[in-house]
């Protein structure tokens, strides 16, 4: 073959011919279809990632909320007094909390049930919202 390309010009010409003469191909008919299918999958994956992110964030909020509620209940039940005064033996958890609340709010004249109902309702709404976010079904 070397004898066919004695000078650089011949080779240059051949390269030029090979590259410039390459015909344009028609894209396969399945290309667009496959891209659409893969885009659908990508969108599903994106939705799943978003759902996972939101559900993890909401779970974190619930966890932090539960910790805060536990800390508040401990604060309200005035543990230090309970430690120092103690409860008589044979009494259950209900008596423990009732005594603690009475000791904490001995001067409070309002409605415990009203405050309790509000806290319970807010908690229920937060839980329901979290459950709904968890579902977050994909709609095309």
């Amino acid at each position: 073959m070397n004898k066919d390309f004695k000078d650089w010009d011949d080779l240059d010409l051949l390269i030029e011919e090979a590259l410039a003469g390459e015909p344009l191909l028609q894209a396969p008919s399945s290309l667009q279809e496959n891209i659409e299918a893969r885009l659908d999958i990508a969108e599903l994956r994106e939705n799943e990632e978003r759902r996972f992110r939101i559900s993890m964030t909401s779970l974190l909020f619930i966890f932090v909320g539960a910790l805060a509620a536990a800390a508040l209940s401990l604060w309200f039940t005035n543990l230090s007094v309970l430690y120092s005064e103690g409860l008589s033996g044979g009494k259950g958890l209900w008596d423990y909390y009732m005594t603690a609340l009475h000791m904490s709010f001995s001067s409070y004249q309002g409605s415990y049930s009203f405050v309790g109902a509000i806290i319970f309702s807010i908690g229920a709404v937060v839980l329901l919202a979290a459950v709904q976010i968890h579902k977050m079904i994909y709609f095309d």
């Binding site: 073959m1 070397n2 390309f5 650089w8 080779l11 240059d12 051949l14 390269i15 011919e17 090979a18 590259l19 410039a20 003469g21 390459e22 344009l24 191909l25 028609q26 894209a27 396969p28 399945s30 290309l31 667009q32 496959n34 891209i35 659409e36 893969r38 885009l39 990508a42 969108e43």
Partner: protein
């Protein structure tokens, strides 16, 4: 007219309307979450993207895979497209990057050598006219150039791509592109010479 028929008519009307819009309008629609606009962009540019991919991969199946990858990548990156260049130019860049990174991955996995061997075996099994074979071998040499030279050469010889568009796709001034083209041709000549004459 039934509800389905009304929906069909509106879809066809929508598709027609999309067909009349310019690329940049379609891009803006995509950026605001309009999937059909992206489908229209795919329909318009699939041939060019496929051809760019084919010139890097030299294989129709691999080129189709790369074209798909390039469009998916474009879909993900489209939010960052500011419209400094045309969508087609931007797609050349995305396709070239996708193909080159795939080729370099293959090189790392030593797949290129194997593929070349397989192709040679195939060529040996199915005799072709000598002239056609040589041209294909020359075209394959382009992928052995450094990536920026390969992109410049590939886009230059692809019809419908202007010098200005190549410079924009590579994000370089036209003067630099001319220098790159000169050096790319010189390197390509050496690679082709080695490829054609060493096998004789």
């Amino acid at each position: 007219m039934t509800r389905e028929a009304v929906l069909d008519v509106s879809l066809v009307a929508g598709a027609d309307a999309l067909g009349e819009l310019s690329d940049i309008v379609l891009v803006r629609q995509c950026q605001s979450g309009h999937r059909e606009a992206f489908s229209e962009l795919v329909r318009r540019h699939q041939n060019l993207v496929f051809n760019v991919a084919f010139r890097y991969m030299r294989n129709k199946t691999a080129a189709e895979d790369m074209a798909q990858e390039a469009f998916l990548k474009a879909f993900r990156l489209l939010k960052g497209f500011r419209g400094d260049c045309s969508f087609a130019t931007w797609m050349y860049r995305v396709t070239s990057t996708t193909c080159l990174s795939e080729l370099s991955k293959k090189k790392r996995r030593n797949e290129v050598a194997l593929e070349a061997r397989n192709t040679e075996l195939l060529v040996a099994k199915t005799p072709k006219p000598e002239d056609l074979d040589m041209k294909e071998r020359i075209r394959r040499c382009v992928t052995r150039l450094p990536s920026h030279y390969a992109t410049a050469i590939t886009l230059y010889y692809l019809k419908e791509v202007s010098y200005d568009e190549i410079a924009q796709a590579l994000e370089i001034p036209q003067g630099t592109l001319k220098t790159w083209m000169f050096r790319a041709r010189r390197q390509l000549r050496k690679i082709v010479e080695k490829e054609l004459f060493s096998n004789e």
